[in-house]
Every structure is written in structure tokens, then in C-alpha cells.
Amino acid sequence: MQEIFNIFIRSIFIDNMVFAYFLGMCSYLAVSKTVPTSVGLGLAVIFVLGITVPVDYLLNEFVLKPGAMAWLSSDFADVDLSFLSFVLFIAIIASMVQLVEMIIEKFSPSLYASLGIFLPLIAVNCAILGGSLFMQQREYQSLAQATSFGLGSGVGWFLAIVGIAAIREKIRYSNVPPALRGLGITFIITGLMGIAFMSFLGITI
């Protein structure tokens, strides 16, 4: 239980997807213009990460890992399908994103309209694939750990995009040099936020 909680906290603050690994930058930069939109996208990412990581965990555990198929019959005990991880992980992610898209379109058409192309693009959001690959690489021990890692990473990404959206709303009327307006200043803010998030770097829990 303690370990699950630790993984959750660690993936939000210490191993933050955006500020520690700079993953998922494309939608982070593009959709962070207003807070409500970024909240919507952030929630979608939490949902997708929270589902894909545990599903991919099961897939990895029972199909892909070297010797994972031993539960079928002893003939498969030395089959190693891990070269398929990328393809299968992406397939799962894409189908989950499709699901999220349908749900959002049904229940919040306005959010669906404002997210636009970036909603289907969650499928190729590197933070999502990154979540599954980190899960595989760090060899989490149980489904619960993988789930808490997925949810935690999502919450970390959510915090990052909502934080920067609020800052971008605040600086909307600032006298930013013309050449830096838009993406340029967003990159600089991301860097400064990264410095601030370094406060948690090195905490071992």
C-alpha cells in the first residue's frame, strides 16, 4: 500500500512527465491557451493514461514478456514477444483514445470543439506511450502499482498544462517582444517551471 502511494506521488512531482522528461510537449504547448480547455485535455490524458498503463501492464505480463505465455502451455515458455510492444501498446492507446473521443463528443460538445484535432492526437502523445514504456522498463510488480503510476503521471501532466495555461492567460496582455509571442515565450515559461519543479528532484520515497 505504502509503495503504491509512493509511486503515485513520485510520478506526479518527481518524475513529472513534462518537467522531468519533457514528454507530451506538442499538445502541452498547443492546447494551453486557456484554463478550461487545458483542464479538459488534462482530464482526458489522466483518463487515457489511467486505462492504458494497466491494460498494457496486463498485456506485457501475460503476452509480451519473455516467458510470459507460459500460462498457455509449457511450449511457449521461452517465447519472447517484447519486440511487439510498440505496436501493441500503440494499438491499445489508439483504441482508448477513440473511446475517450466518443465519450467527450457525446457529453461535452463544446469541449470537443475546443480540443479539436488535439483530442485524436492524444493517441500519438508521447506522454501516453512514454507511460506504458516506463511501466515496462521500471518493471512494476503489480496491476495496482501500474495503475497508480498511470494515474499519477496523468495528474502530473494535468498539473503542468493547467499551470502553464493560467500563466499564459496572465501574460496575455504583457508586452512580450514580438518575436517571442506565442510559442517562444511558452518554451521559456516551461523552462522556468522546470526549474521550479526541480525542487522535488532527488526526494527518495
Binding site: 484554463v35 508586452n175 515559461i189 522556468l192 525542487s199 532527488g202
Partner: protein
Amino acid sequence: MKALRNLLDKQKPHFEKGGKFEKLHAAFDSVETLFYVPDKVTTKGSHFRDAIDMKRTMITVFIALIPALLFGMWNIGYQHFLSIGEQPDFWTMFFYGFFKMLPIIIVSYGVGLGLEILFAQIRNHEVNEGFFVSGLLIPMIVPPEIPLWQVGVAVAFAVIFGKEVFGGTGMNIVNPALTARAFLFFAYPTDISGDKVWIAEKLDSFSGATPLGNAMIGDFSNMPSAMDMFMGTIPGSVGETSTLMILIGAVILLLTGIANWRIMLTVFAGGYIMGLLFNLWGANAYMEVPAWQHLIMGGFAFGAVFMATDPVTGTQTTKGMYYYGFLIGMIAVLIRVFNPAYPEGMMLAILLLNVFAPLIDHYVIAGNIKRRLKRLKALTN
């Protein structure tokens, strides 16, 4: 004074449009406003008329910093002579520290104001008094022996990326002084942390660890007494050691209404409550440090009084200030106790909340709008 006014008036036409030094008008402007209040007044629209302006605000903060600065200078000398086992008189100690600090202050102001003037020139705005305080805060939070070029680089980074790219004074997201400190901390860690740096030219046999440095490695036997930590006769950066002097500054800031008491109070409250929680938990020796001691150790008081209360980078809404201050205090103590990488958490806690301050404001305002809409609905029905 009259001669100065005459001199300025005589030079002024050269710097105005069409004059021969037209390009340098920002530099001239900054010199003029340093000595005289500009005679330009707003004529159109409705305005609050008040004697307070940015210049007066900045000078008040400057004055509030003076006690801590003077004490810090003396303390540099005191720590130095203590470490080599001499006991000279008061003025020797003070001037030793004074001449250690002076180059740092000069570099900080030189680089900072130079860049400000440059930006004002290129971007065609006026030089603000904004750097007046940051330029003094930076020397007060670095070690006395820091190489001067590092101060220059850090100040340049802070002024350009912390402030000017956002459009100058009043637009920045993170506190420029803390940006400079964080830049130094992550770029040149060996020159700004550890036991060696906090006492100028000390003998190697003498331990120069700060109380927080000792606490981090779990050495609680060498802790100075609470009285020493309160008075400030301990190793540490210039501004932070003396809680007493910082409190004098705090009184000045609060009486003049420059700093917001809500932020100051909640930062201390947050730190204290977090300390109490750790006391209850008590899993290791660091967690058993009395909660009130956290408030006088290291840069906690300095950050709470001079950094967290920065009106630009903090939250703007009244309700937001309580959350903002409280979280700063809690996270600062949390980082101290939990993070083995950094002995001091105050700097990073304030930076972190600077980043999230707009978000807090956003939700406070959204809450207000919602409540008023509800009230309106109740009225119209």
C-alpha cells in the same frame, strides 16, 4: 541639489527626440528619475491619485532591507575572524564584510541596470525601478566568496529570462532574485552549496556548515543555540541569518503597507504547521526539530518577508494569498526534511508557488464569478 538640477536640465535637450544622444534617452531618464520625481502626470481617464508610486515602493523595500544587509556585512567579518581565531573590534569586522559585499553589489547593479537600460532602449519603454530591489536581494542570498562573473551571469539570466522577455517590471512570472539564485544553484552547485562557501577565507579545519547543512546530514549535535539563530551570529548568506533584523524589515514593510500581511502570516503559519506535523510523525531526528526552529533556521524568514510578498509574482486575490502563503511555508519545510539533495527549501518553494500563483488566482476569481451569478439568480427570481 540645485546644481544637479541645472546640470540635468542643461543635458536634457541632447537626449530628447532629435538631440544628438537620442539613442541614450533611457539611460538619461533612469538617472533623472533616480534623483527627481518625474513631472509627467496622467491627464486622461479616471485614476486613483496617491503619493505611492513604484519608486516609493521600491525605496521602502530597500530601506526595509538595510538592517539585514548591515548586520549581514558585520556577520561576514565576525564569522571570518571567528574561524581564524581573532577578535578584532566591531568596525574591523564590519568593514571586512563591507568590502566583501561591495563588489558583489556593484556587479549585480551594474549588470542588471545595464541590461535594463539596453532593453528599455531597444524596446522603447522606460527604465523601471524594478531592479532596484532585486539588485540588492541577489547579493544578499549568495555566499560572500562567490566568483563575481557567476553573479554577473546569474543576474543576466534573471533579468533577461526572468523579466525582460515578459515585458519588464510588473509582468514577470517568477521572482527575478530567486531566478538568479536558482540559476546559480543548479548551474554552479559547488560554488553555492556545501560547508565551504558560507564563511569568507576561513581555515580549512574550521567547520563552516550552516544549521541546515548540519541538519541535512543528520548532525544535530553541532546546532547553534536558538538565540544565536535568532540573532544571526551563524554562518549563512548575508541576508538570511538574522531573524531579528528581518523582523525589523518586516515591521517597516507592514507599517507602510508595502507587503501584504496575509502572505507573510500564512507563510509562517504553513511552515509552523508542517513542522508540527513532522513533530507528530517523528520518524527521524530531523522531523523532531521543534516546529518554531524551522522558522528561524536558514532563509525561511528572509523568504517569507522579502520574497514571497513580491506583489508581482504572488497571488493577487485576497483569498488566493492565504493558499499561496500557506503552501509556500508547508512545501519549504517539506523539502528541507524530505529532500536529501537540497538543505534549503525556501527558494524552490517560492518559485514553485510563483508558477502556480496565476492558477490559484484563476480559480479564486472563477469561484467569485460563480457565487455572484448565484446571488444574481436568487435576486432576479
